[in-house]
């Protein structure tokens, strides 16, 4: 509890000054990330602060576009930003992030080579993003509705589950899901009409469009849904942490994979602190604790994954070479594509109204 600062607030000038001097001070690391996504775990912050003497200040975004807007309108405020690899290119092109000296990160050498060498993160031989975790947008089922996990994505269209299917309210995800269902490359969709037709026939099956993990978990807790698209890390968390009857299904047709990475914004006032924080985020000790206490996606650090128990979901299922063959990593999308996907998605939603 603290004393209400009515008087301070009323003295407009005082607050004016504080608003103008918002910029980070040297011993602080300002981190921009999704809320509840590892970097703001109180135990992790405490451990990092104790080890390095830097103070962590978290700020959050609710969409990639918002993250970019926050970087644009607050130059110099942030030291670390978490960016989906597919957006790294855009952030770099707009000069929002700077190259990272990976020799300062002792854990960088352990990052799996296919992730560290991703052309989405490395430009002109410079590293603009340190791979952190990756995961899937696959399917998850309500265990109460299935005797055994369905092998194929076609189950989403099964009349037996009509009105008990969910899909995320996200144009890009929906279109890429349609691409997988029609056997296409998600990053190079040739037959858009097929995707549209496939999604059109899916719409009457749908109960609602989810937008957050909480939506999904609430619906499955009250047994309102059978199946839907879901994130791998969230499905694991729902099962192990919240004890909900949820399990992840990676259909034979494949699934969409995404990679999240840390970057350092241009103008950071504490690059050293930022490097220390990123190094801590890819450290096996932090990762194991994160998975055990909260549930997390798969670390890009091979040693971190190897430190998990052998039967851990992130090691057993996600580390399965058979799975690796089926998944497709999301590549950057142009603004024009994104707008086209949105137009298609909006039309589908209006038609089913």
């Amino acid at each position: 509890m603290r004393i209400p600062r009515l008087t301070i607030l009323l003295t407009a000038t005082a607050v004016f000054t504080s608003a103008l001097t918002l910029a980070a001070s040297a011993a602080e690391v300002h981190v921009l990330n999704w809320k509840g996504y590892g970097a703001d775990e109180p135990w992790a912050i405490a451990a990092f602060e104790k080890a390095t003497g830097n103070k962590v200040v978290n700020d959050f975004f609710n969409s990639e576009q918002e993250m970019l807007t926050k970087l644009r309108t607050n130059p110099g405020l942030y030291d670390v930003v978490m960016i989906n690899a597919a957006f790294n290119d855009q952030a770099m092109a707009e000069k929002l992030i700077q190259p990272i000296d990976v020799s300062k990160l002792s854990n960088y050498a352990d990052i799996s080579p296919d992730k560290a060498g991703s052309p989405m993160l490395d430009h002109d031989g410079k590293v603009y993003g340190v791979p952190w975790v990756w995961g899937l947008t696959a399917l998850a089922i309500n265990e109460k509705s299935f005797d055994k996990p369905p092998p194929s994505i076609a189950v989403m269209w099964d009349a037996a589950h009509k009105g008990r299917v969910v899909i995320r309210d996200d144009a890009v995800e929906a279109v890429q899901f349609g691409a997988i269902a029609t056997g296409q490359n998600i990053n190079d969709i040739k037959d858009m009409e097929a995707v549209k037709a496939k999604l059109t026939s899916l719409m009457p099956q749908i109960k609602t469009f989810w937008s957050s993990e909480n939506d999904w978990n609430q619906m499955v807790a009250s047994n309102q849904i059978d199946i839907g698209t879901y994130w791998s890390g969230s499905a694991d968390r729902a099962k192990t942490h919240f004890k909900l009857p949820v399990s992840l299904v990676i259909p034979q047709e494949g699934a969409v994979a995404w990679l999240d990475a840390f970057s350092i914004p241009v103008g950071s006032k504490n690059v050293e602190g930022a490097e220390a924080f990123i190094n801590y985020m890819i450290d096996p000790t932090f990762y194991v604790e994160w998975v055990t206490k909260v549930g997390a996606p798969v670390s890009a650090n091979t040693k971190a994954v190897a430190a998990l128990p052998e039967d851990a979901f992130n090691r057993k299922v996600m580390g399965d070479p058979e799975v690796a063959k089926r998944i497709q990593f999301q590549a950057p999308i142009t603004d024009a594509q994104r707008e086209a996907y949105l137009a298609l998605w909006q039309q589908l939603k209006v038609d089913v109204k």
Binding site: M1, R2, P4, R5, L6, L9, L10, A12, V15, F16, S18, A19, L20, L22, H30, W34, K35, G36, Y37, V57, N58, D59, F60, N62, T69, T73, N74, S212, E213, N214, N217, Q218, A221, S222, F242, L244
Partner: protein, 262 residues
């Protein structure tokens, strides 16, 4: 007379039904703050762990205090500025008045998402930046039109002859306003204040754009929490707020007459 009594009885019954409708979700919110499941799962299992967790959650508590402060200050500023503007719009006739009245609707009509984005960009451009002061600036602007519309509605029932009469008895402008007009519109002013408080206290979109880490409000925290870490702590804090405001309001009602008796 019998019909009147029956009708009045029905009227009372109706009010209680309306209250039941209005409080149904509130009661559920309160119940779920004592339920073990964070997903509103039934059967109900009693716990007070969410209240214990709330007590430890400095961030949520700080955000709650920020919300209360901002809402109270917004209410004070809005009732004063709004009532003054309503009086001017009622009393005087001038060119462009219709335009000024129409200007009250853009802040209500334009989705808050757009207003919030616009404020973020503009405040950034002119150097106000983000933070509690920016949030206050925005909240007052959002709530002002509500206060002006509500107070104006009350003023429409006011007979100008009363002001005339007072003036002819030798009262000056200030005396007329403070002794005749203000007491009459007081219920409107209070209602406007209640509106302003509600608009500010539940405002999340604009606050969301203008908040910084450490300088946020309760709705912003709630919205951010829903994405990943929603817990019934939010129900707990909402329940405490409702119970405390209910106690305060009922206490106020005991000592204060709203609108007076005739």
């Amino acid at each position: 007379m019998a019909t009147t009594r029956i009708l009045e009885g029905l009227g009372r019954l109706y009010i209680w039904l309306l209250l039941a409708f209005l409080y149904l979700p509130i009661i559920i919110m309160a119940l779920m703050s004592f339920n073990v499941s964070p997903f509103y799962q039934l059967p109900f299992e009693w716990t007070t762990e969410w209240y214990a967790a709330l007590w430890q959650n400095d961030q949520l508590i700080a955000a709650t205090w920020n919300s209360i402060e901002i809402a109270v200050i917004t209410t004070l500023i809005c009732t004063v500025l709004g009532s003054a503007a309503s009086l001017a719009l009622y009393r005087y006739d001038f060119r462009g008045k219709k335009f000024l009245q129409a200007l009250l609707f853009p802040p209500i009509a334009i989705p808050w998402l757009i207003t919030g984005t616009a404020m973020l960009i503009f405040f950034f451009g002119v150097g106000i930046g983000r933070g509690l002061f920016a949030i206050l600036l925005g909240h007052v602007a959002l709530a002002l039109p509500y206060v002006i519309v509500v107070v104006s509605a009350r003023l429409q029932t006011f007979a100008p002859e009363l002001e005339e009469a007072a003036r002819s008895l030798g009262a000056n402008q200030w005396q007329v306003t403070s002794r005749v007009t203000l007491p009459w519109i007081m219920p409107g002013v209070i209602a406007g204040g209640l509106f302003a408080f509600a608009v500010s206290f539940d405002q999340f979109v604009v606050s969301y754009f203008l908040s910084t880490p450490g300088q946020t409000t309760l709705p912003v925290e709630i919205y951010a929490a829903i994405r990943k870490g929603f817990t019934p702590e939010i129900n707990a804090v909402s329940t405490i707020i409702i119970v405390v405001s209910m106690a305060l309001m009922l206490l106020t009602a005991r000592f204060f007459k709203f609108g007076g008796e005739k």
